[in-house]
């Protein structure tokens, strides 16, 4: 009997170890300790046994039974830890639950990118009101009295404030530069600041022309700055926007508020300067005007142009964003169309 018990025990050990899942384990359990299990059947044979052997055999039998139960429990725990909590059909390809997906307007994003760049170079951020007087929009910027830009066909004048002297006439700012004079008037030189904002032009709109658009102005004013310092600011903007150092060139340009004035071109990023339809086969794309503030502008800001000079650039953010993403219609920016805006989150 003792051998029988040991035989069953080692058989049980092998079978338990071999059980691959809970079902098989259940079968093993009933094969040994169930109603018809081999150990249970042995137990039933006890009465037939020599009474002198009964205590020892009973003890052995119980020990064997406990051992089997123990092994089964261990195995069950082992199987449990090994198994997945879910069905094997669980689909890992279903999409994740996304966090809140709001977004800033793509122009705001561009603006903040540039703000971060200029902040890192010690520039302040300036913000001014949208309605200005003609005095600041034109006079203080050295625009001659009859300059075409002053006329209503180019500028949105405010009803009831559209006649009289230039300090009385009010308009939605046609550009940011007048606001820069306000900054200079109220701060002590040297200056280095950027000035993002929306500007307004009274014109017919199409895919490339808008009545409201964003400019980004950057200005440094200090003693003895040469006009070539401007290249540093230009490169800062373009390398931030395009992620690489973009070759730029400065060429002659005329704007009343700068002297000398420049048109600033960047190498066409589509063809790498070889010439393509995007750059009209010249290899360069005009991106912004720039130049040293005109002495009259510095005077208007209360500075002595013999002492101070500087460099200014003013870039159209709408156009940069269009280039960054390949947007082909500027009017989408003010459309508040979520089908468009959701693409930039």
């Amino acid at each position: 009997m003792k051998d029988k018990i040991n035989g069953i025990l080692s058989e049980a050990e092998i079978k338990i170890a071999a059980a691959a899942n809970e079902g098989e384990l259940q079968n093993v359990k009933s094969a040994f300790t169930g109603k018809q299990g081999s150990l249970t059947l042995l137990m039933k044979e006890m009465p037939k046994l020599d009474p002198a052997l009964r205590p020892e055999m009973g003890k052995l039998l119980n020990q064997a039974k406990n051992r089997v139960t123990e092994l089964i429990d261990e195995k069950r725990m082992e199987l449990k830890l090994k198994a997945s909590e879910v069905s094997p059909d669980f689909d890992c390809s279903v999409p994740g639950i996304l966090p809140p997906r709001g977004a800033l307007h793509p122009i705001t994003q561009m603006c903040y990118d540039l703000n971060d760049t200029f902040r890192s170079m010690g520039f302040e951020i300036f913000q001014e009101d949208d309605i200005t007087s003609e005095l600041y929009a034109f006079d203080k910027l050295n625009f001659p009295p009859n300059h075409p830009a002053r006329e209503s066909m180019d500028t949105y004048w405010i009803a009831g404030h559209d006649s009289g002297s230039t300090n009385e006439k009010l308009c939605l700012r046609p550009h940011l530069t007048g606001g820069s004079v306000r900054y200079m008037q109220t701060h002590k030189p040297p200056y280095r600041f950027v000035y993002p904002g929306r500007v307004y032009r009274n014109e017919t709109t199409d895919a490339h022309h808008e009545r409201a658009f964003f400019q980004y102005e950057a200005l440094i004013v200090d003693k003895d700055i040469t006009f070539t310092s401007g290249k540093v600011m230009i490169k800062a903007i373009l390398s931030k926007v395009f992620g690489t150092d973009v070759p730029v060139r400065m060429r002659s340009g005329f704007f009343p508020f700068v002297e000398p004035g420049f048109e600033i071109d960047m190498q066409c990023q589509v063809c790498g300067g070889k010439g393509c339809s995007v750059c009209k086969h010249v290899g360069w794309i005009e991106v912004m005007p720039g130049g040293s503030p005109h002495p009259n502008v510095l005077r208007a800001a209360g500075l002595d142009p013999d002492v101070y000079t500087g460099f200014y650039v003013n870039i159209g953010l709408d156009r940069l964003v269009m280039m960054r993403y390949g947007v082909d219609d500027v009017r989408l920016f003010h459309s508040a169309d979520l089908r468009f805006l959701k693409q930039f989150r």
């Binding site: 709001g102 800033l104 009803a159 939605l172 040469t226 290249k231 540093v232 060139r249 002659s252 508040a336």
Partner: protein, 813 residues
């Protein structure tokens, strides 16, 4: 402006192997933007002059002819519908590969060998407008073939060569030379090229007149008309001008008319100085240049009838105005087929007056667009010399019967002193005095250097405002030296403190919070509002500013609130989305509190920066939408580090639902509103199905915290327990009442740490007029771990207090 390179080459000796790409680049970098360099001959690729050997009827078509055409060696059959075909005629033949426009209209097409009504045709015999020459060779009737018999060239000569169109056109961006009146003509650009490359420039020798004392020109306003040369001539007639003159005028983008008119246009295109020819027989007495009298009338060449004002300058005879000075001639004195005597006008007019007049009558012409750039009066000499050269060449019989040069306001050449030290500093480069002098002298400046001082005298053609200060001189030196030859220089500065712009940071934090934390989409809308949304959302236009020339009649009001445009945005997006939340940050304007902190004479309206949001959803449960919007505002101060705000119910926004609204306060000041767009307003806005929660706050009134203000609290030493209770309250009881009752002045239990809202329920299981509110109590002690009895007893105290104070009942299942 289009310029012919061969014409330019008449004034400056261009090297034969001139690199045109480099020329365009150098002009662009230093002077004006060259937008295009066009090899004109390419338009006429695969086109030759053919001689018609025979013209025969087409077997299958009445209107077509079959021509045998000699193309120089080859004789080809070409089918043609022209009405003026004749044997021996020279014609323009577009061979296969040529690009033409059928009948001068539509898209360009490539000529191919083809069959026309069953007869093979090699290319096409062209009408002038089919090959873009309609302006140079105007056809007198439909289906008229371009007759080139006057051009004595052999058959097979390339068309471009035969017609002297083997030229290069430079197209220059007009905007890039508004400040350079001297460049508005071929001679001006030639002069600039001569300076850039140090090439010899041809001088235009002045005309030596025989003065005729009997002829006079009076100038009444020497400010507006600085110079007027009048030349009276007889022995002229109306006839075509020489082909070379015609083709040059055509290349520059104008139309040849007749010799008298062509000479004046040619001279303008050459020198940039407009000129005009009057029929002398229609001028009574002598010419007077004066201001118009109020109400005086003038019929222009283009048949426009003007009623003039005293700001207009007119050319008059003793009977009245005959021309709008510097803008357009009148019909009375215009050149007619019978004209035999003319008065040539070569004059100079002040720029801004010309501009005003041209704008006033919406009549901008080639002449006015040049005068309004400020042409220098010395240029009249060139224009006169060139005019007389051509008059005498074209009319050998011509007699000058009157001449008067009334130069009343002499041009003063601009003189400027420049410190060479200053120049070196601004250039960031030390150029030798010789280099500086050489560059300026090439441009026509007179230069004298004495120690550190350089005295420069600008040439006459740069002295009408273009060059006036030393910065202008610096620019001249730099651009001629070449901007490419200046390296970028770094700039340095000293830092005294870190940049700390709390207000700027706050705005950005708020926008980033709304977008990234709250999952909202930022939108931009225009500053003007649509009347429909003004009327429905604002319901009043008091204090709202207006544009005097709005983008559209219904868009005249500029925003005093961001909500009308946000509602419009919700309406437009409703088609595509059934739940979304958007926000906008922008300036608003009010017709009040005019002031300026920059200039005492300036007065600007009140302008503020608002932040507004719309939460739109097709949900039936408005309370969730309300709580979402309110939650965004409640958490905003904490997230963005600003002073907090409170909600009150003082003044219902006009657009809001009668129940669901709150005012936002900072201290005792109202800074905004929060509310549900009322069904009535919502429908009037065209929003059909969505419920819309709105808020708008005045960002100008938000106060950023200088630093973080919340304090650390020690972690609880003994466990705290959350214990939820649900009680029935009267439906009108507010959460703030419940919260106050539990945690107000006297806490319901000393062990109570906090009480928060879980949810509320009205419905089937709840008696009418009641609601069930579930409240989460946080219970704990700083001294020990509480037993469950202690926790329950604390909760019971809360419930008792609610029973007593608010009549709450424990909710029974």
């Amino acid at each position: 402006m289009k310029l012919s390179l061969s014409w330019i080459g008449e004034y400056v000796a261009l090297p034969a192997d001139m690199d045109l790409k480099k020329l365009a680049y150098d002009l662009t970098m230093s002077t004006v933007e060259v937008e295009d360099v066009e090899y004109l001959a390419r338009r006429f690729d695969n086109m030759v002059v053919g001689v018609i050997n025979s013209v025969e009827a087409h077997p299958n078509a009445d209107k077509l002819r079959v021509c045998k055409v000699d193309l120089g060696g080859d004789v080809k059959e070409i089918v043609c519908g022209g009405i003026n075909l004749q044997e021996g005629m020279r014609v323009a033949v577009a061979c296969p590969g040529a690009i033409v426009r059928w009948h001068g209209e539509g898209e360009p097409v490539e000529i191919k060998n083809s069959k026309l009504r069953g007869v093979a045709s090699y290319g096409m015999i062209c009408a002038s407008d089919e090959i873009g020459l309609g302006d140079l060779f105007p056809a007198s009737q439909e289906a008229e073939i371009l007759d080139l018999s006057a051009f004595h060239v052999p058959a097979g000569t390339p068309l471009a060569k035969a017609l002297d169109l083997d030229d290069v056109l430079l197209e220059i961006d007009n905007k890039s030379m508004t400040n350079r009146p001297d460049l508005w003509g071929h001679y001006g650009i030639a002069r600039e090229i001569a300076a850039l490359y140090n090439l010899p420039l041809k001088k235009i020798e002045p005309y030596q007149p025989d003065v005729q004392p009997g002829f006079k020109v009076e100038i009444d306003d020497p400010e507006r008309c600085t110079r007027y040369i009048g030349v009276e001539m007889s022995g002229v007639s109306v006839k075509p001008s020489p082909y070379k003159m015609q083709s040059r005028i055509w290349k520059a983008g104008m139309r040849p008319i007749n010799a008298l008119v062509d000479i004046t246009n040619y001279v303008m295109l050459a020198t940039g100085n407009p000129t005009h020819a009057f029929d002398a027989d229609n001028i009574t007495d002598h010419i007077v240049v004066r201001r118009a009298a109020e109400g005086e009338t003038l019929a222009l060449l283009n048949e426009k009838e003007l009623t003039l004002c005293p700001d207009d300058l007119v050319i008059t005879d003793s009977e009245g105005p005959v021309a709008l000075a510097g803008v357009m001639g009148g019909s009375k004195d215009s050149i007619l087929p019978k004209t035999t005597r003319v008065i040539l006008e070569v004059a100079n007019f002040e720029s801004t007056g010309i501009r005003r007049t041209a704008l006033r009558y919406d009549t901008r012409t080639e002449a006015s667009s040049r005068y309004e750039k400020a042409v220098d009066p010395e240029r009249c000499d060139q224009a006169l010399a060139l005019s007389m050269h051509y008059f005498q060449e074209l009319y050998p019989e011509l007699k000058v019967t009157g001449f008067c040069d009334n130069y009343v306001t002499k041009l003063k050449r601009a003189e400027i002193d420049v410190s060479l030290t200053w120049l070196a500093k601004r250039l960031g480069k030390n150029l030798s005095n010789d280099v500086i002098r050489q560059k300026l002298e090439l441009l026509g400046f007179d230069v004298s250097i004495d120690g550190d001082n350089m005295h420069v005298i600008a040439p006459t053609w740069r002295s009408t405002g273009d060059i006036s200060i030393k910065d202008d001189v610096m620019e001249e030196v730099a651009r001629l030296y070449g901007y490419d030859n200046f390296e970028a220089t770094e700039f340095t500065t000293t830092f005294t403190a870190a940049i700390n712009q709390l207000d700027q940071d706050l705005l950005r934090h708020i926008k980033e919070y709304l977008a990234f934390r709250c999952g909202m989409q930022e939108v931009y809308t225009y500053p003007w509002m649509n009347d429909t949304f003004v009327n429905t959302v604002l319901q009043s236009t008091e204090g709202v500013l207006k544009l005097s020339t709005p983008p559209a009649p219904e868009l005249s009001y500029i925003r005093s609130s961001l909500l009308p445009n946000l509602c419009e945005a919700v309406m437009k997006n409703e088609r595509y989305f059934d739940a979304f939340s958007i926000f906008e940050e922008a300036q608003v304007f009010f017709d009040r509190n005019y002031t300026s902190r920059y200039d005492p004479t300036e007065s600007l309206p009140e302008q503020r920066r608002h932040i507004a949001a719309a939460f739109a959803s097709s949900t039936k449960d408005v309370s969730l939408l309300f709580r979402e919007a309110k939650g965004v505002l409640e958490y905003m101060p904490r997230f963005t580090h600003m002073e907090g705000f409170t909600f009150r119910k003082e003044e219902k926004p006009v657009w809001a639902d009668s129940v669901v609204w709150l005012n936002v306060y900072r201290g005792e000041e109202k800074i905004g509103d929060l509310g549900l767009l009322s069904k009535k307003v919502s429908l009037a806005c065209g929003i059909k199905n969505l419920s819309v929660m709105l808020f708008e706050i005045d960002a100008s009134k938000l106060v950023p915290l200088r630093s973080r203000t919340n304090k650390f609290t020690h972690l609880a030493e003994y466990p705290e327990t959350d214990y939820d209770i649900s009680m029935l309250f009267d439906s009108g009881v507010k959460w703030t009442d419940i919260h106050d009752a539990i945690l107000g002045q006297k806490k319901a239990s000393a062990l109570l740490k906090d009480a928060s809202f879980v949810d509320e329920y009205r419905g089937k299981q709840i008696p009418a007029g009641k609601k069930s509110v579930t409240i989460r109590l946080t219970i704990g002690s700083g001294e020990k771990t509480l037993t469950s009895q202690e926790i329950e007893s604390a909760a019971n105290q809360v419930m008792k207090k609610l029973e007593k104070k608010l009549g709450a009942e424990l909710r029974t299942q």
